[in-house]
Every structure is written in C-alpha cells, then in structure tokens.
Symmetry: C2
Subunit: 192 residues, 2 copies
C-alpha cells in the first residue's frame, strides 16, 4: 500500500524501520474518481498529496471563469496548494482528477511532527522543493522566451507520458495557449 511513497522518499533519505513505521502511521490512503475534486478554491489545503496511481490536475479559475492549469501530477509526484497549505488559509486553487487516482496524504500537523521527530524529512522536502524550483524556473523561461510551437515541443519532449494522457486542451491551458493553436501545430508537424 505504501511501498511507492517509501521508495520515493528513499531516493533522497534513508529511513530505519522505526522511522518508516512512524511515517507510515501518519499517512492516509485515498481514492479519487475521475472528475472528482481533491481540493476546491476557498478551501484550506490541509494535506500534502502524493500520487500513487492516476493523474491529477491543479488549476485556478480567473475572474472571467477561464481555467489555467498550474500543474499536472501523475505517479510519483507531490501536489498541494502550497500557499494555502503553508498559511492554513483558504486558497484559490482546485485539484481534481483527470483519471481515477490513488493518493497518499499527510496532514500539515503531522508533517510538522515529522520534522521534529525525524529531522531527515526536512532534508527530503528541501530536496523536493529544490527540484521544483529548477523546474519552475525553466517553465518561466520557456513561457517568456518561446513561441507557442516551441513551448509545445518542449512540453512533449519533457513530459512525453503526460502528452499521451492529458487532453490537448488541458495541455493548452498549461502552456497558456489555445487548443486551436495546438491543433494547428500538430497538423503542421504531421506534414513533415
């Protein structure tokens, strides 16, 4: 049940048996069916979420009602509305399932216990956040420097598996371009 998250963590830190079972005692296993919500705007993000199987989508809705995808999260990814999680105030992000999805969750208060009782977890999440920092910065640079076509090609090169599983209009939303533009890019790629 919890092998995948233990393996994810042991990529960066080593846990002994006592630490492992303490950690596991803090976890909750949940299933979210396709189109169901894990988090809605206005709610407080109380958990960090690890995806065991399936595919989640983290997005916001602007004042005109348009959705903008902040990130996708598939197997082995962590996701939350971090701002809401940190401040424990109502957030403005949604998380829903694009596929039937199994997740493991840990509550904020339990993460804080973990930091105190097993300080190695500070290191683990620091490393996770470092990697996210690098990825975010690359995404920002793509967004401000590439054409729509270049961004799309960079996306499918970086996340070939997501490109298979995520509907194209969701990819468009993630990249900040329109579904029509992606459709035309793909057509022009076919010709070559």
């Amino acid at each position: 049940m919890f092998e995948s998250i233990i393996q994810n963590i042991s990529r960066h830190i080593q846990l002994n048996e006592a630490e492992t079972s303490f950690f596991i005692s803090l976890l909750k296993y949940r299933t979210i069916r396709k189109r169901q919500f894990l988090l809605k705007s206005g709610e407080i993000s109380r958990c960090e979420t690890f995806v065991v199987k399936g595919l989640l989508r983290n997005y916001t809705v602007d004042k005109s009602g348009y959705e903008h995808v902040a990130m996708f999260a598939m197997e082995d990814w962590w996701v939350s509305d971090l701002y809401s999680f940190l401040t424990q105030t109502p957030g403005n992000q949604f998380i829903d399932a694009l596929e039937d999805t199994d997740v493991i969750q840990i509550e904020k208060s339990d993460i804080e216990r973990l930091y105190i009782e097993v300080p190695k977890f500070e290191r683990f999440f620091r490393i996770l956040l470092q990697n996210a920092y690098v990825a975010h910065q690359q995404r920002i640079l793509s967004s401000i420097s590439l054409t729509a076509e270049e961004q799309y090609l960079a996306f499918i090169r970086k996340y070939p598996s997501l490109e298979q599983r995520v509907p194209q209009h969701q990819v468009a939303s993630y990249l900040g371009i329109t579904p029509e533009t992606i459709s035309r890019i793909r057509r022009s790629m076919m010709k070559v």
Copy 2:
C-alpha cells in the same frame, strides 16, 4: 558586516552563539561593481549568494542572443543558478550587477557541512524554497493568463521598489514583453 544575513536567517530559525559564529566562519563578503558579473554561462555556480546591498540580475541568453531575465535580487534576497549549483556542472545562466552590490556567499561544500553540523539550516532553506515555490507558481499563472498590461501592473504592485530601480527594458525582459509595449502601457496609464 554579517548582521543582515543573520537577521534574515533568524526570521525562520533560532541560532545560538556557537552556531552563529560557525555559520559566519563559512561566509565570504564580496563587492560587485555595476555591470560586473558574479556568474557567467558555462561556469559552475559554486555559491549561494545573499544580497546585502544593491541589485543583481539573473538571466539567460537564447540561441538568437536575446537576454531573458529569470529574476532580480535586491537586499535580503538569495540568488544562484540553482541547477548548476546542485549538480556542480556548467550552467547556462548569468548573474550580473545592475548597481554596485555587496553580497555574502557560502560555498556548496560549506552548506553541506552546515546541514550536517547544524541541521536547522535544512529547515531554513526548506522554508526559503517553499516561499520561492509559491512566488514562482504565481508568476507562471500570471504569464499564462494575463495580458501584457495586466502583467506589468501586477509587477509594479508586487515589487514597487524594483520598478523604481530596474530599467524598464529589464522589466520587459522579465515579463516576456517588449520595452515598447511597456512604454505604451505607461502612456495609456498617464492619460487616466
């Protein structure tokens, strides 16, 4: 000499005297004159850098030779080419000074010593990275969802002091729009 960085750190963790002096023993104080480089593409980013006074700019150059600003760093900010820093391989980012700037630097090997001898620093950098994560995500959402004018207004609202100190064409580069567009936005704002 090191009061500012100690204060920056004590916002998130408490250090005793021994820890403080050990930390200080790892630091190097440097001055960079305007237009000089702290880091060039192709070099390995060997330090984390904290800005005491002044203003730095972190950017990349694309294949057409155009610069794209990844971030600015003024007083109380941390900056590095994190990817190069983590992997200790040559990076593709530049860091130069937009003003005469005083910085404090700590080398990667010394940060690692610090993590081991004063694990609280894992917490400190974790918190720093959490805040960066939230800021990055907001910037991404701005970039994919707002018009040029909305992005510019959001920038000057979020960073009014930067808007005073950074040349407009650098702000344009940070936002992924042209200097001419910013100029026209400002003119249209004057009329109202």
